[in-house]
Amino acid sequence: MKVCRVIGEVVLSHSIFPDQSRGRLCLVSPLGKDDLLNPSETRISSQSSLVTYDHLGVHTGDLVGVVEGGEATRPFSHPMPIDAYCACILDHIRYQQPDQLQ
């Protein structure tokens, strides 16, 4: 599960998503070391951004846990054409650099 910040949303005019899916698509940016050390709601990391499926109700600026791959479709009882799923909204992340741990 990647730690990402929500940086936008994606709106489709046509899609193959089943009618019963009530989520939406959002654009997220994975966090790197600099982002963990100096959190900023406006910074976009150098890593590739992802489009993820969300039904938790995330907003721009939220920190989220994103699952990629086949596991992204596990929460659904019907086939879903996605490979990234927003599994949790993170309230707080505590990061300590390894050299400060011992």
């Binding site: 599960m1 086949g70 949790c88 741990l101 011992q102």
Partner: protein, 87 residues
Amino acid sequence: MLLAQVVGHATSTIKHPSMEGVRLLLCENLDDQGAGAGTFFLAADWIGAGHGARVFVSTDGSAAQQYHHDRHSPLRNTVVGIIESFA
């Protein structure tokens, strides 16, 4: 299977129901020399890995679902062992 070091943790109130009560550890990938690779991920932990611990992480979602007894769980990364030493 990933070699990683626990460098923190995360808390979440709003999440997939299957993740209730699951401890989320912030882990950094380690290279073959044991140095941090600068990429991070969250892993579910049921064995009590502490900060700074070097751990093995399974990236197999099926294993996580069987351990968690929930076939609808989106969990993928699971801490499966704490490394004492490696050479």
